[in-house]
Structures are given as C-alpha cells and as structure tokens.
C-alpha cells in the first residue's frame, strides 16, 4: 500500500463525505509523508484504529473553529462552542471517512476491523503512536481554514511474537493540566 494509494483513498472518501453529508466541496492541498507520528497540540482530533493482517491508525484533525463549522454544516445548526454534539459529529465524520478508506484497503489487504472513534478536544496535548510506521498526511482547505486526515498502516506482527512486538501500533494521548 503506497503513500499515493493512501492519499487517493483518503481524498475519495473525504470528498464523498463532505459533498454528500455536508453539501460542500473540499479543496485538495499538498499531501506529505512523515516518518514519525504527527504531533497535535490543540484543537480537535478524532482517532480510529484499523486492525487485521494490516493494522494502523487514522486521525482527523482540525481547529475548534473548523470543528464547529463542519458540525454546523452536517447538522444544519450553529454551534457557539465545541460541545458534545460537535465532538459527536466530528467522530462520525471521521468514522465515515476512515470507514470508506478501510473498505478501499480491504480490496487489496483483506478484511480489516475499524474501532469506534475517540475524539479529543483541548489545548496542550500530544498524541503519539507507538511503533515504527510511515504516516500519510492529507490536508484539505474549506472556507479558508484547513483540516487534515492522517493515516498509518503496517503489516501486523505475527501472533507468535506476542503483544510486546515493537512494530505494533497504538496511540497514546498525554495532556498538560
């Protein structure tokens, strides 16, 4: 699964979700490839896990303002603050985008599972995926703001290596209080 294939799958899924569910068109920005897990520091981040013979993490990242905007478009109402409805809407957008990416991947990589999204909102936090894996970062522009889909995927360790194998991926979040 090449970087270009991941970018194409993410773009297809994101465009479908935003056009069908929110009634807007995203503008593609230049994707990047990162060797280490992208670091988040504030705003809204939604994470889902992919599991199977290939496993990894998908993330949706945007500012609080963008989260209120996309939730408002989806639910046809205005949000003055990032509340439970906004977090729920961002989680569902993430679920739909990464769920469709998963379906595309399954055609080449076999059956995969998708976890229920975890959505984080705040300041001064860091998310980090444990394990060595390349990340594809796919940014989009919407009404002058940006949002990003990030995805990493690696062949799962053989079961005989046990749960401590270093190539397994898991995402941790730390927050400064």
């Amino acid at each position: 699964m090449t970087h270009e294939m991941k970018v194409a799958a993410v773009r297809d899924a994101a465009h479908s979700v935003f056009e069908m569910m929110l009634g807007v068109t995203l503008k593609d920005c230049e994707p990047t490839r990162e060797e280490n897990s992208p670091v988040h520091t504030d705003g809204v981040v939604a994470l889902v896990g992919l599991a199977g013979d290939w496993a990894g993490t998908g993330a949706f990242r945007c500012s609080a303002e963008m989260a209120r905007k996309v939730s408002g478009l989806m639910l046809m109402q205005e949000f003055a603050a990032v509340d439970q409805d906004v977090l729920d809407a961002v989680g569902e957008i993430t679920n739909m985008i990464l769920g469709n990416v998963k379906t595309t991947f399954e055609e080449k990589l076999g059956p995969m599972g998708l976890s229920i999204p975890t959505v984080i909102y705040g300041r001064n936090f860091i998310t980090r995926s444990v394990g060595r894996c390349e990340w594809s970062v796919v940014p989009f522009e919407l009404d002058g703001g940006t949002l990003e889909i990030q995805i990493s995927l690696a062949k799962s360790a053989p079961k005989s290596l046990g749960s401590n194998h270093k190539d397994r991926l898991s995402t941790v979040v730390s927050m400064e209080v």
Binding site: V17, M20, M21, A89, G91, M96, N100, T103, P111, I116
Partner: protein
C-alpha cells in the same frame, strides 16, 4: 396508518440526520424512537413496537448484525423490515446482513434521496 420507526446508531448526529430525512421522505411518519446500540434497541422494542428499524452496524455493546439476528429470532419483531445504514461496505458484510434478513443496505455517506429511494421500495 402512521409508521413508527426505531433509529439505532451510536452517533447522535446520524440519528438526528436520519430523523430529518424521514420527515422529508413523505412517508406517513408516526413516532420516532432512538437507541445508541443493539442492547438499547432491544429494550426499546420491548416497550414500543415499530414498523421499521434503521440501524448502524459498528456500535458498542451489541452491533447491528447481532441486533438483526435478535430481531429476526423474535416472533414479535421478525416481520419488521430492518435497513442497515453503515460505513461497513465490504461485500462480506453486505452478504452477511442480507443472509440474516436485512431489508436493505445503505452505505454512509448517504444522500437523503438514497434513503428515500430505499424506503420507497419497502412501503
């Protein structure tokens, strides 16, 4: 006769959108009940018989396919059409849902028109 509906999805946003689509679909809509997973849905069905169930698949506690099996196993609910509305798009999942007795399958993301067309085929 008004049609009572149960919407099952762990996302409140999707439940809200589906309610809006049902209103737009111009079917004689009665009461709309909501559940966040399969367990809540079975509880709701004990108290409120409905004429249609719209359900996600990927949910905590009890997923949509387990719910579908339970609905089709009960004499009081097996006649109720159940439409799966989900991001799960693999042909294996679609086949599994159909073999368990799903009346329809709509992939997320969806348009209001797609839901309306699916429902028009049922009633």
């Amino acid at each position: 006769m008004a049609l009572d509906v149960l919407i099952v999805d762990d996302s409140g946003a999707i439940r809200k959108i589906l309610q809006r689509v049902l209103i737009q679909a111009e079917i004689p809509l009665g009461k709309v009940y909501e559940a966040g997973d399969g367990v809540e849905a079975l509880e709701a069905l004990k108290q409120h018989p409905v004429g249609l169930i719209l359900s996600d698949i990927n949910m905590p506690n009890m997923d949509g396919l387990q719910l579908l099996s339970a609905v089709k196993a009960q004499a009081t609910t097996r006649h109720v059409p159940m439409v799966m509305i989900t991001t799960e798009g693999s042909s294996a999942k679609v086949m599994e849902a159909v073999s368990l007795g799903a009346a329809g399958y709509v992939r997320k993301p969806f348009t209001a028109e797609q839901i309306k067309e699916k429902l028009a085929g049922l009633f």
